[in-house]
């Protein structure tokens, strides 16, 4: 469970700062310079130096990324991202509660948590399918169809979860 949760959290770095900070320096310097940097060839060393040296530029970078994100992301995708953040929060809450309070009605925990995770991956799929850049990957899936698929899949998911929670 744990890795999945962490991954789920890591899935949505752009809208928020949920991405682990250790990883952030590795890529945050990159946006301005698209050319390869020789100094970054060893990631383990650069993480420390990046974290140590780039404190003053930290705000700037985040601002940069945010503005980049706000500028280039369509509004519906933002909506998607917001929903995904929401799901991550709900999922994390459930998981933390499970760790703290135990998973006594195991089926309830599983279905509650699985609903959130499942909803999350479905939403991520929707996001992938509706992103302009990925259009080439999905010749047969128009955004409308993607949304219809999404609704159908979500309904199936919810049915199973409600049934399983008994």
């Amino acid at each position: 469970m744990a890795p999945k949760q962490r991954n789920a959290a890591a899935q949505t770095p752009p809208p928020s700062s949920t991405a682990p900070p250790t990883r952030a320096p590795a890529w945050t310097p990159s946006p301005p310079t698209t050319t390869p940097k020789p100094s970054l060839s060893k990631p383990t060393t650069t993480t420390t130096t990046g974290a140590g040296g780039g404190v003053q530029t930290w705000d700037k970078i985040i601002n940069n990324v945010l503005s980049h994100y706000l500028d280039t992301t369509p509004q519906r995708t933002k909506l998607l991202d917001a929903f995904m953040v929401f799901l991550v929060a709900v999922g994390a809450l459930q998981f933390v509660y499970c760790v703290l309070a135990g998973n006594y009605p195991f089926n309830a925990f599983l279905s509650g948590f699985a609903a959130t995770v499942g909803q999350f991956v479905l939403t991520a799929s929707l996001r992938i399918q509706t992103t302009e850049a990925n259009k080439g990957d999905f010749p047969c899936v128009s955004p409308e169809r993607a949304f219809a698929d999404y609704v159908v899949c979500s309904l199936i998911l919810h049915f199973f979860c409600v049934n399983f929670i008994n």
Partner: protein, 724 residues
Amino acid sequence: MSLGFCFQSSFSANPILLFAGFESIIHEFDPWFNFRATKYLVANGFYNFWDWFDDRTWHPLGRVTGGTLYPGLMVTSGVIYHALRALTIPVDIRNVCVLLAPGFSGLTAIAAYLLTNEMTPSPSAGLLAALFMGIAPGYISRSVAGSYDNEAIAIFLLVFTFYLWIKALKQGSMLWGALCALFYGYMVASWGGYAFITCLLPLHAFVLVCMGRYSTRLYVAYTTWYALGTLASMQIPFVGFLPVKTSEHMPALGIFGFLQLLAFLDYVRSAIPSRQFQTFLWLFAGAAFGLGLLGLVIATSAGFIAPWSGRFYSLFDTGYAKIHIPIIASVSEHQPTAWPAFFFDLNMLIWLFPVGVYLCFQQLADEHVFIVVYALFGSYFAGVMVRLMLTLTPVVCIAAAIAVSALLDTYLSVKSPKPEENQAVEGAEGKKAAKSGLKATNKPVVGVYTTWGKGMIVSALAVYLLLFVLHCTWVTSNAYSSPSVVLASRLPDGSQHIIDDYREAYQWLRQNTREDAKIMSWWDYGYQIGGMADRPTLVDNNTWNNTHIATVGKAMSSSEEVSYPIMRQHEVDYVLVVFGGLLGYSGDDINKFLWMVRIAEGIWPEEVSERAFFTPRGEYRVDGEATETMKNSLMYKMSYYNYNNLFPAGQAVDRMRGARLPEVGPTLSTLEEAFTSENWIIRIYKVKDLDNLGRDHSSAAAFERGHKKKKVTKKRGPRVLRVD
């Protein structure tokens, strides 16, 4: 049109072959339980079936049947039955059950057609695959009428799930992924072999990722399938929490997490392209994968996740089961496959199979990778366990069809100068050529443009195909369509002689014993006794309780004095043994006896010892040289009791083992012979009640035989005084 024909042929071939010899009857062992469960479902409705507590098996433990079976098969036939009734077609549930397997084999052919069509642009490949699927003996063994087993529908679901998976992967569509998940759920509801899918799809995804073929389509297809499929599988009571608790399901979960990671990294990469960064990403992904694996190992050793079950260990080490879990090894279907079996079950397909796989390598799109992975995976497991030949058959059919269609497409090319001649050959080929002949392949064929050469090859192939059909027909009619409860033999004059001892004995039980008379027999016959004789049994083919089976094994392999209390405790009324000595029938209990001993020894090593059943020279004998333990065992006594009377004095011979039996046959004091079938295959004994006068059974039996009790007044040793 031609697809319809294929469907028709595969559909109709089987029942006809079957009905030629026998009436409409359920085969083998497991189908009898499925049939009984279906009857219960039809009679009592779904919810009662779900909560079914079966007090007529595993006496006195009972079996929570509703929660420990895969209900897909029964529910399917129940739905068909009710649908037909709703359409005012009066059918008997038995006929629905008997004909379910052939019906589904037709659907399997269609699924194979669809799946193959995803692989190659040539339409003939799909048709050939459907045809092969319809008649390959490896599959027909489970699709003949009367073979009412989980596999009957599971293979269709397997192939169809794979088709949906390929479809979802190709299109990157959530809907196809969801459909795939739903059919996966149906598969889980139908057969324990669903773990094959659970492992194969993640493996495919993993191989794709390793090949650098990660795509957003893969992400969409896989995550949709996993999220919905896992939830769907957890709805089945028997599966329950297993998908998150056992090791078999962990690869799927691991790949799920891994794909999340990849998707995130992929997203990052698309935002910030950088070559060094890419290497870092892969490093990171590798580290995460390793960490996940480590976590899995730790969680398993700490007990959060159940370790691999014994059946799975035996998949990797064929000797494992024999040492640790004799009950698994004792099933003939769990033995490693003998090499001839591959040829017997697949015939020509087995050498076309590598060609097909090779052709897949040539193109190597995502779906071809799937075929390659499936082929490797399936071949390995089919080699380990006879039963898993079934999962290999579809991919063999598909690969062989790809190979044959490539050949035909090449050599039936209309580009050649004289198409009329080819048309003549196509006449022999039938409908396949008619379609494929119109389609020219793009591949350059060097040096074989001559009509003669083409004709040679095509006609050779046609002969092969015809031979294949002949082989399949022969195998099906000889090996797979006999119901095994009815044995067929040839008399010297060549006429067929039906040996119907099983049904005779079960009928006797049904008519001559109390409704709740408990029958003890080895577990092989449990389902049949429950289904045909309708009597409670101690153990049956659902081998969920090893100790209980070992108890029966101990009762069979111990002397009467030890067995009797066991039988009393379990309230056994009758004991049933199968004896093939008179007829030379090899599947009898004396031949299975060592497994009973081994299983009993696994639980009671001090009381039962396999060694004691072998002569000092290490032979397993039943004649005069047999060990005392063997001669005193209940199984031996029950098998050979009164057998001497059939022969002139001193001439008794066990025809199965070719052994001359000792002159004096065994005596039984705690059991009395109740029934012996016509050919002595089934022998039923009644367990005596405790002696009315409080004697032990051997002295009571001696008294019955007229032996006077020895005068005890003169006995030596200290006098026993009564103390009350």
